[in-house]
Subunit: 800 residues, 2 copies
């Protein structure tokens, strides 16, 4: 399965020299404090006091790097390098320094001995650089921390980059994760006509931290079937075992890469020349399986125990080097085995022999524009005005917010035909964004049937039943400078909690890296949310993602709970213009009133939180008496807003003299104080809205504790009483869901009754409490009898 | 690949009758309100007002059920049914009613017409049962909500159940998820000598909600390679397309199951008879690929558009049946096509023809003891006394808490040789639990090498680099009544946030199901936590899982932050005795002081939070003056505790007259009020510890907001000032981590200085503030220079 014809114009001895230099510098970064070129015999003071880093994966990472450089120089195919085993940070740093990029981006790490001294010292050192490939690493779009996302990042990066090869090294440890395991199917979505190619390179070094790996231990014929089964043609490269001369491995690796690139180019050419799908080649995309010893070229044994090609090579093969003269000597032999004197000039610059292997400018993988935010302009956004709906008070009918948004989104797709993508775990239509299918299709390279709907090789929508894969491909797309949106059921977005975490951390770290361009924001549209999963039941009812989100850096995270269709439109048009953010937008798909006209929605979104005077009975802010409402009914989220407005209406009918202010919060972070979040309302503004001493009944979309967490510093916090999801759910009716969680209009009105002094003494109020309890009970009884809510629940045409 | 010899003593016509009855009842549950046997012509009133449910997957679920019943009756092999497409709830309910189990467990759903009326009405109906397979479903151990976990649950269930076949139906939608994709490798851990078998049955019905599925569209030979690649021998069953007579499919399915069970039994027998590993058969375990039309036997077309065998069959194929007479008529034809008059006796009981297909008692899959908490006794736990370490004040040396726990855990493993398992994502040794390998090994069925360590076919430890797979197998093990522990890096446990959510919801729901036995608790040991990932950097620093956990039902969740080794021992011995809980225990692996003797640790764990009088300067609780400390320094988590004690020591040295009370919280839920959590301290006890009006400086392991979220109702909340992780991290030293996040001893002492009235006026205090700031700065400068913390940071032999 390996080709044996190589026509290398760059001698493989040069590739080997690069590889040795990178290996030398990898070991150097793990161990050395000074004297990076070993001018003197190695001594205690030259060794770092704390030995950190991952040696085991580094040699293979550098082997791939050196060989990719050869291919780029020889074939001129733009290529980027996604490093799955990113904990091999020393290798990635070493190669990007050899590329020259590192010194260009970090001018104090010069391409000479002084720079090398900084280079080795800074690695995994306080005040230095992380131990893993990270935003600080040139050419990286994949953090080397939590494993599993390299291949999905690669597939996302390749979308709409038709000339690009995304080489993706995957460790055999990472290959065991669920997200990686399903990423192999990324090939079902990449159109070889309009997209680039992903070249997965699975490095079987055999071991994880302390265990062998599964894929390294299955028989080779099974491994071949594994890849055939996923639609790839594997190219196997095995070598370096039992002291095999690396030059033999270089020959095999060069041949394998030539074969892989030739295959990719044939697939591209065929797809681009073909007039019909049937004319395209059926050749499968290549995957390279590179089987090399863990810690290859490192110590074979330490203290008589095998290290190379065992899991003991995972991190630092030689420990206690400062205090163990034998280990110190072994380290020096190891370092000198790379023959540094051949690899560096007298002043410490890399030997000029390596020049031939260094691609020019942005063709260097470490300097690719793609991996630094790409080259894409801001989104071209359609006007929202034509899509706005008349508000309820303007006589508008009920509409589903996401459906209205979908009509606008359709035009976003149309106006950005190669720089915007929509991703969803088989829920784009379920979340009512199906209008986009008037404009485009779902990407799909597998066979189709006449009964299929909206499938095409070059569709702009990507759907697979994996939140992981969808989020990861979107991340890869964003990290390379393009734009997108992911939609998910609210409960199941928890599946990608950790991916959100890692992406938010990436953005936060990247924004401190001077040369990193900002990237388009990651925006979630969470629909099918907790309150309208009454039919799907308890497992589908979970608003906890918001709590995960607000823990991350305030510079990065934004949370929006637009209460209606126009507010959603304005919000999305805003967030689509942001960079370096994670925007979480929760909006319902069910029909409901549009509370705000477009103009009102614009003002509301700009404010983030405002009093809806028309919904309450208190004097409007700024008018006489405004400072003195009896109670504030606050709300955030579409269903809580509906109940809050209904509660205010009930109170208006029964106690017209009660001064009720209704406040809607659409930008959740307005609640937090401005010291903690840049969107936070000033205390003055917060106090003006929520008062300093009146009861606040807060109807909230998520867990009540989140509102307390955000507002605990506010003057009036002790008077804020929050109703929200309290983990009560089942398969029932929409009203029974709010009833079960004490968020219904009657409960809210009773909360007011119990908290406004003197209200219970008003004529008839005690009777009203009984009436309201009876109404809740009757509503449930009706639902249990008839299977749906009584019409007087859903008819909200109450007088205003 | 399919066998064609079937020796069925039960006629396949009986299997077909069962299948038709189950299909009839599935449709009935989706549509019918009354008259379940269609005694009268179907009319509007007989139709539910809200049509909910998933028809598409149901026929195949019932086909498998009926055929498994045949195998169980004929072969006598105990079998359970894990239903991946659990949203096919109607099918699972129908089959368990036909089994008789449903009526035994829910006596009002009798095995007659009256019971059938309740059965069809209750489905997805307010006050009824969930629309998905759920804890309420007899024989279920897999919630049909969030997809992806069926096969890992199956593998967990099969462990240590050597006679059991766990049949696991996997939808082709679910098969696209990451967790499912890596679950195929469960076969690498199952020992055919000591464990049962998993029989995966992949149902390719071709479609998800609105898309075709990947596995259904790849060529069949690729599918075969896919399974060979994962180490299975696929048995292909295709049928039911284009109106094919179901009897032909029954023949194929019966043959396939016979072949699969025969193969499983051969593998079992060979492994159990073999004297050495080499003597075992190399036969691969079977997987059945069942390719049938989505919505098979349902409407072929509706309103002229194809439905059967398209995604339109996913949920309710015929809509608006109440108001559309054509649809109503089509529904009636559909229902009557199953010939209910042949399937039910006059009184509505299932026809006696089906009796032959009904296994006896607990052999029914719906009545298996395994799926209802199993038959296992509580864990046999070793004494902890021999493992306790002397406390620091008793002259004990620093120890790593998890290492001490590991020595005890080793004995837990030994004393429960077939009912306790340890699961970890390649981090058991990294988290310092390696003592267990003195007693057992890691389970591993793949080839081994001489350099391997601690691998054996029947090891009690399971490790793969997938948090998903480890958590899912443990869940399956617990749900079938056995015991276990999962260990993970703290940051990466977020990977299974959603699995935790779903499991917690399962427990909460299951505890309301009268006949469900409690199951052993799910216990997490999170080590390598946020404060000691200084070497791995920002991506490894995340304490947010605690916030996810506390959102779930207070009846279920418990969070422990034992500050030292003895406290960890006592905590683990306690939580290993619990049922129906999720216990989250965070403990460090690094060497640190043991603050408490075993006796003190027992008292502290029993209290959950207590004043450590020896660490402070205030009068002990209960003694004169105790009510009047100047300040409370509270702490939770091992590193914050270290800093808090150091801060108290600093203050004692500088301001000996200051009355400082040190409070350690080891049971986090003690902070919440007892209305919100059963562990919550009474307000009286809380106020006694934390005072009602003195400043409380709280050094917390996680995000500070979590403490506010838990304590916002407490009297003294406004005076609680929390320091914790504020998302500041990188690769640095341990002390720099606390410094970066303002959690270090100096910052805590300054917080006291700023909050205790009059303290700044004390002689020398202003100077001390400068000194302390200088100390922090010097510590960082030293670290940046030398790569490690200065010794005066880590030497905590300060006077006490």
């Amino acid at each position: 399965m390996t080709s044996d014809s190589v026509t290398a114009s760059i001698p493989l001895s040069t590739v080997d020299a690069w590889w040795r230099a990178a290996n030398y510098l990898s070991v150097g970064q793990i161990y050395l404090m000074g004297d990076p070129l070993l001018r003197k015999p190695l001594d205690r003071e030259g060794i770092k006091p704390r030995l950190l880093g991952h040696w085991g994966t580094s040699p293979a990472l550098s082997l791939v790097y050196a060989h990719l450089n050869r291919v780029i120089v020889e074939k001129g195919v733009p290529t980027i390098y996604v490093c799955g085993p990113g904990h091999g940070g020393p290798a990635m740093v070493a190669n990007t320094w050899l590329d020259g990029t590192y010194s260009e981006l970090f001018p104090d790490v010069t391409p000479d001995e002084a720079g090398l001294r900084r280079l080795v010292r800074q690695f995994s050192f306080p005040g230095g650089i992380p131990s893993h490939a990270a935003p600080e690493t040139p050419g990286s779009i994949n953090e080397g921390g939590e494993l599993g996302y390299s291949l999905m990042h690669a597939y996302g990066a390749a979308l709409d980059n038709p000339g690009l090869v995304v080489a993706c090294v995957i460790g055999d440890g990472e290959a065991e994760t669920g997200p990686l395991a399903t990423s192999w199917w990324g090939n079902a979505f990449l159109d070889p006509r309009t997209d680039g190619a992903v070249l997965p390179i699975l490095n079987l070094n055999g071991y994880k931290i302390a265990n062998p790996t599964l894929l390294a231990r299955i028989p080779e014929e099974q491994l071949v079937e594994f890849f055939h089964g996923h639609g790839y043609e594997p190219i196997l490269v095995t070598g370096g075992f039992d002291g095999e001369d690396p030059m033999r491995v270089h020959e095999r690796m060069a041949a394998a890469l030539d074969e892989a690139y030739d295959r990719i180019c044939r697939i591209w050419t065929s797809a681009r020349d073909a007039e019909t799908l049937a004319d395209r080649t059926t050749e499968k995309p290549p995957v390279i399986v590179l089987r090399t010893p863990k810690g290859w070229t490192g110590p074979v044994e330490v203290d008589g125990a095998p290290v190379e090609n065992t899991f003991h090579a995972h991190q630092v093969p030689l420990s206690g080097v400062r205090d163990d003269p034998d280990h110190l000597a072994q380290l020096e032999r190891w370092l000198r085995s790379y023959r540094p004197e051949e690899l560096f000039e007298a002043d410490g610059t890399p030997t000029s022999v390596l020049d031939a292997l260094r691609p020019v400018g942005g063709m260097r993988m470490s300097a690719s524009l793609h991996t630094n935010g790409g080259t894409v302009a801001p989104l071209d956004l359609p006007e929202i005005t034509p899509h706005a709906v008349p508000s309820d008070r303007e006589g508008g009918a009920d509409v589903g917010a996401t459906g209205v948004f979908g009509e606008w989104l359709r035009h976003v797709v149309a106006m950005n035909p190669s720089t915007f993508r929509l991703f969803g775990p088989d829920e784009v239509a379920s979340n009512r964004l199906q209008a986009v299918f008037e404009e485009t299709d779902r990407a799909w390279q597998l066979p189709t049937l006449p009964t299929d709907e909206h499938l095409a090789t070059d569709g702009r929508v990507i759907e697979a039943l994996s939140e992981h894969l969808m989020q990861g491909m979107l991340e890869g797309y964003l990290l390379t400078g393009r734009h997108g949106l992911i939609t998910s059921y609210e409960a199941f977005v928890h599946i990608v909690d950790s991916m959100f975490n890692q992406h938010a951390k990436w953005i936060e770290s990247a924004s401190t890296v001077r040369w990193r361009k900002p990237i388009p924001s990651l925006t979630y549209l969470l629909s099918s949310h907790v309150w309208r999963q009454d039919h799907n039941g308890f497992s589908h009812q979970d608003p906890g993602f918001l709590g995960v989100v607000v823990n991350k850096s305030a510079e990065v995270v934004r949370v929006y709970l637009p209460p209606d269709a126009n507010t959603l439109l304005v919000t999305m048009a805003d967030v689509f213009r942001t960079e370096n953010r994670v925007n979480v937008v929760v909006a319902g798909k069910q029909e409901q009133p549009s509370w705000l006209s477009l103009e009102e929605a614009r003002a509301h979104v700009a404010a983030g939180a405002s009093a809806w005077d028309w919904a309450g009975t208190a004097a409007p802010l700024g008018l006489p008496g405004a400072e003195d409402p009896d109670v504030v009914i606050a709300c955030a989220g579409d269903v809580p807003t509906f109940e809050a407005i209904a509660a205010a209406q009930l109170l208006r009918e029964r106690v017209p003299e009660l001064r009720v202010r209704v406040v809607n919060v659409t930008d959740l972070m307005k609640l937090q104080d401005p010291d903690h979040h840049p969107h936070g309302l000033s205390d003055e503004d917060f106090d003006a809205l929520f008062t300093t001493d009146r009861p606040v009944i807060f109807a909230f979309h998520g867990y009540p504790s989140l509102v307390h967490q955000l507002t605990y510093r506010r003057t009036n916090h002790a008077n804020i009483h929050v109703r929200g999801f309290i983990e009560k759910g089942t398969t029932t009716t929409p009203f029974d869901m709010v009833h079960l969680n004490d968020l219904d209009r009657y409960r809210l009105a009773l909360d007011v009754l119990h908290r406004v002094p003197g209200l219970e003494a008003k004529p008839g109020m005690r009777r009203l409490a009984d009436e309201w309890n009876q109404a809740r009970t009757e509503a449930r009884a009706y639902a249990y009898e008839h299977g749906e809510d009584p019409s007087w629940i859903t008819d909200r045409r109450f007088e205003r």
